[in-house]
Structure formats: C-alpha cells, structure tokens
C-alpha cells in the first residue's frame, strides 16, 4: 500500500467514517443539503444558531469516507463557536487541503487528520462538502441545497 493512501485513510479518518459523531437530525434549527453529483455523496447538515453562536450541529446522509469523516470532525469542532469562527476554520481547512503536498501542514488540531487529502486533488470536494453545507445552513433563511459541482 502506498504512503499516500496511508496519509489519506489515517486511522482517525477511517474511525470517524465508520462511527460518525453527531450523526442525527436536529429538530430545532436549520439545515442544508450538500450534494456531490460526481460520486453521489449526499449529506444534510443541521445547525442551531443563537446570537451568531453554533449551539448544536449534526449531520446525516450517505457519503464516502472522506466526506463522512470531514463532517463528523466538523461537528465536533464547530459546536460552541461563532459562525464567523467556523467560517474562518473552513478557510484554513481549504487552504490546507489545496496546498501542494510538500507545503507545511497548518496545525488545525483534529482537522489536521484531513491533510492527506492534498495528495488527492479529486477528493478535495469530498472533504469540503459538509463545510459548504454548514455555511449554507448557518446563513440560510430557509432550507438549502448546495452542490460541489
């Protein structure tokens, strides 16, 4: 097996993909669906925002290991943060996984587990899908569908 594959499918990624955290619906709050028509990933992110703070966040749906793990890690990280802080985290994540493979890895705590995605450019959309959905849900007046295509 190649080192690229080990870097992509770290134990923490496989674990979160098989046992996603906060994998449930949320009655209160808003939701947005993220859809990747290329591979059929379809995740719904639920978010409850009060005074600009993410009080609760969850997701459900069907996706590949990268999209599912990214969503699971995301829900753990952004709960209790402001929408603006979550947005800033998403920007840093995007920079980290779009960088060339020899660039230094930004320390994003648990999200650094996604750094291996940078060696697989076609999988960047999988990792960002739930974050796009979170952004749409947090900003939305009503329910939204966002697409990575």
């Amino acid at each position: 097996m190649t080192s690229d594959l080990r870097a992509l499918y770290r134990d923490v990624i496989v674990d979160h993909s098989k046992h996603p955290r906060n994998f449930r619906t949320l009655e209160a709050g808003r939701k947005a669906e993220g859809f990747n028509p290329l591979c059929g990933d379809r995740l719904t992110v639920y978010v409850q925002v009060d005074d600009g703070v993410i009080r609760d966040v969850s997701f459900e749906g069907l996706g590949c290991a990268i999209a599912t793990a990214s969503a699971s890690l995301m829900t753990e990280r952004v709960k209790g943060k402001t929408v603006a802080e979550a947005d800033a985290l998403f920007e840093r994540l995007q920079r980290m996984i779009s960088a060339s493979s020899d660039a230094p890895v930004d320390d994003l705590g648990t999200l650094s587990a996604l750094a291996g995605v940078r060696r697989f450019p076609v999988r960047v959309k999988c990792a960002t899908l739930p974050w796009h959905a979170l952004r749409a849900a947090a900003a939305a007046a009503g329910d939204e569908v966002v697409s990575t295509e």
Binding site: M1, D4, D41, G63, C64, R123
Partner: protein
C-alpha cells in the same frame, strides 16, 4: 481497406492476448509506479496503433474538406470518408451505406432522433417508452421531447437481477406510443437486453424502436437487420476508435421521413432567401464539416475488430467475465450488482462498509483504473437502492493478471477499512 487490419491469418491460431496488448501502446504505461490495469472500458476504450496510425495518415496525406472541392485532395478525403461510411454499413449489416449518419457519438445520435422524429411524429398525449436502466443520454433527450410536444414518458421496469420485465413492457405499449428507445447492453449492469424480442413486440403495433448500442459494439457483432430495429446509435470511442465520432443507423424509410437536425452546409440541396431544399439522408443530418479523421479512424477500428473476429472476442470475454465474477465473489463483503443471465463485460459491485468512491481512489493508487459513481444512471441507482457502485468493465486486451490485480487491490481496501 487501408485500416491496417491485421488480417484473419494472424488470429487463426489460439487467442494471443499478449499480441493484442502490444497493439495498444498506452497499456505499456505505469501509473503511480504500478503497471496500468485499465478496467474502465465502459467509459472509453484504448486505441490500437492501427487506429492512431490511420488518423495520422489521414492528416499527413489526405486532409481536405469533403463533398466540396474539385481538387485532388478533396476527392481523396471524400473517398476516405465515404469508404468509412460503407465500412460502418457493412459492420452493422445495413442495407446500404446511406443508412449510416455520422454524428459525434451516441448522445448526439439519440438527440438527433428525439429532436427530429419528436418534432414531426410526437404530439400532445402521445407516449414514449424507455427503460429503467437507461443512461441519462437516453432519458433526458426524450424528456425534452415530451416537454416540447406535450407527450409522456413511460418506463419499462427491471427485475431484481437487472433484466427488463418484458411482460410489463408489452402492457406499456398503446395506440399512443410513438417510439421505444432502449439500451442494448447496460453500462451499469452489463445486461444484454433481448432487443429482437423488444423490436418484434413494438413492430406488431407499428411502433419504431431505437437501440442505444454504446456498450454493445465493442463486445459482439451487431446485425441491424436481424435485430430489426429502426435506429441504432453508438460511439466510436467505446469500440477502440477516436473520440468525437459516432453513428446513427436509421432505415432509409425512417430517415427520409425526418426533418433536418442541425442546419448549414452540406445538409442542403439548394438555398435561396425564399426557399431552401434539404439534401437526402444521410447528408441531411450532417450539417457542417464532419469529423473526417474520426470517421476513417473508426473504420480502422472496425477493421481491427473484424480482423480478430467477433466470435473469438465474445468467447474470450465470456471466459474473462466468468473469471472476474468468480474472483470478486471470493472477496468477503463484495456484492455484484447485476446478475442477468445474458451479460457482457461489465461488473458493478459494492464492498460492504466502503463507499465506491473510496474503492476507486485506493484502486487507482494500485494502478487499477475503474469507475465509481452513478454511471450517469441515477434512476437506476435509485431502483437498486445504492447511491453509487464501483464498476470494472472489460475489453479484449484485459487478462487474468488484470483481474488478479483488481482482487489484490480490493484486499488492500479491506485492509484499510477492516
């Protein structure tokens, strides 16, 4: 024929898989440091040297516009282009070359019929019948026709094994059915549909039938007269020819009765600002300069295939499909999707607990190229109850080593995901 056909003598002996692989230069490549194992043939096939050489030769020696010039090169280009049409006609067992319309591919062929037949023969309240295992390219054009003409789409259901329900099909046909359009070989399930029977039932009511042959032409001989179909559509690039060239076969009677598709040069007989007279088929449907190099390249691909012989290809691929099906079913957690009695070289599968997209990425790093996704068949995916599948699709240059590499790579997937 200047297609560089190897001739039957070379293949008179046993199947020489190594010689066939040598005909395809791209297969010598390494991917991520591993030998390339190309199992995405349902998406597109690789090109043998004779096809590459024929396209090059056309540009080096014959390039000019067709059907226009009085000069020597134009005559030569026209001869090559029309010879390609005749070769395609013989390949399909068409009655005459003018039943062969050159288009960009299967998609354009179906769009052509949906637009022109649809505009002239489909009206409000009419019905168009397709099946539940169609590619989006045999769904969306008809949806547009239905929308424009006020007609309705009816769907032939599939069974659990991935075969068409012919009893249900027969009951779908009514006095309002204007056309039936079905796939010959499913790009997801590999199912070979009983096209002759489908045509026979439709013709009892005088309903024309279009057959989407995109996945069929590389894997078996096609005889449009035996099938009895009114239209047959396929792409050159899925049968070892160039991209950008495809064919719509139509019976003369059907093509004569249809108005033009695109308009411009070559499709007209005479133009004035008061009135334009259209050319006869096939030229009526070939507006503008066609893909001349593509057409001669496709003819070379046909020469290559017929030189090997479809009987040999069919029996080789049947054995390889059995070997591959057996190998996959030995891997814990693998479920093959599509178990029709009559199948061509497509193996769709899911691996328990692993998304097909991850399977595709891991296999790629092992040098194994497969497709993962919905294969442009979202309604079929819904019917199968899966968001996507992984798909290995075979061609005549694949061998047991390729299947063994696929199996080993799937074991790597199992190793990563436990």
């Amino acid at each position: 024929m200047r297609s560089g056909s190897p001739g039957p003598a070379r293949w008179a002996a046993a199947w020489d898989g190594a010689a066939i692989r040598r005909d395809f230069p791209i297969l010598r490549q390494r991917v991520h440091g591993k030998p390339l194992v190309y199992l995405d043939n349902a998406a597109t096939t690789q090109k043998p040297q004779v096809v590459i050489d024929r396209v090059t030769q056309y540009y080096v020696e014959e390039n000019a516009n067709v059907h226009r010039g009085v000069h020597w090169l134009s005559v030569r280009a026209t001869d090559s282009f029309e010879e390609a049409r005749a070769i395609v006609g013989r390949f399909l067992n068409a009655r005459e070359p003018r039943e062969v319309v050159f288009v960009r591919g299967t998609t354009e062929a179906i769009n052509l019929v949906a637009a022109t037949f649809g505009r002239s023969r489909v009206g409000p309240g009419d019905e168009i019948v397709i099946s539940a295992m169609e590619h989006h390219s045999n769904i969306v054009p008809w949806q547009i026709t239905c929308e424009q003409q006020g007609a309705r789409l009816r769907i032939i259901p599939t069974t659990g094994a991935g075969e068409l329900d012919l009893d249900a099909y027969a009951t779908l046909l009514t006095d309002r059915t204007r056309i039936v359009s079905v796939v010959h070989v499913s790009n997801v399930l590999g199912t070979v549909n009983p096209v002759e029977e489908i045509v026979r039932i439709a013709h009892q009511r005088g309903i024309p039938v279009l057959v989407d042959g995109a996945q069929a032409v590389a894997h078996g001989a096609v005889d449009v007269q035996a099938l009895g179909c009114d239209f047959y559509a396929f792409s050159g690039h899925k049968m070892f020819g160039p991209t950008g060239i495809g064919v719509l076969y139509g019976t003369s009677a059907r093509l004569e009765s249809m108005p033009p598709y695109q308009s411009g040069g070559d499709m007209i007989r005479s133009v004035s600002f008061d009135q334009t007279l259209y050319n006869v088929p096939p030229y009526r449907f070939e507006a503008g300069t066609p893909d001349i190099a593509g057409a001669v390249g496709l003819a070379a691909a046909i020469g290559y295939l017929t030189g090997i012989g479809f009987e040999r290809i069919v029996s080789f691929e049947r054995e390889l499909l059995e070997y591959a099906t057996d190998a996959l079913s030995r891997i814990p957690g693998v479920r093959v999707i599509g178990t029709a009695a009559d199948k061509a070289g497509v193996l769709s599968f899911v691996l328990d607990g692993v998304h097909p997209h991850d399977v595709g990425t891991i296999l790629d790093r092992e040098g194994v190229a497969i497709r993962a996704g919905h294969h442009c068949c979202q309604p079929l995916m819904d019917r199968l109850g899966v968001p996507a599948t992984a798909r290995a699709s075979l061609a005549l240059y694949n061998n047991h080593d390729d299947i063994d590499a696929l199996s080993a790579a799937l074991q790597t997937v199992r190793g990563l995901f436990g």
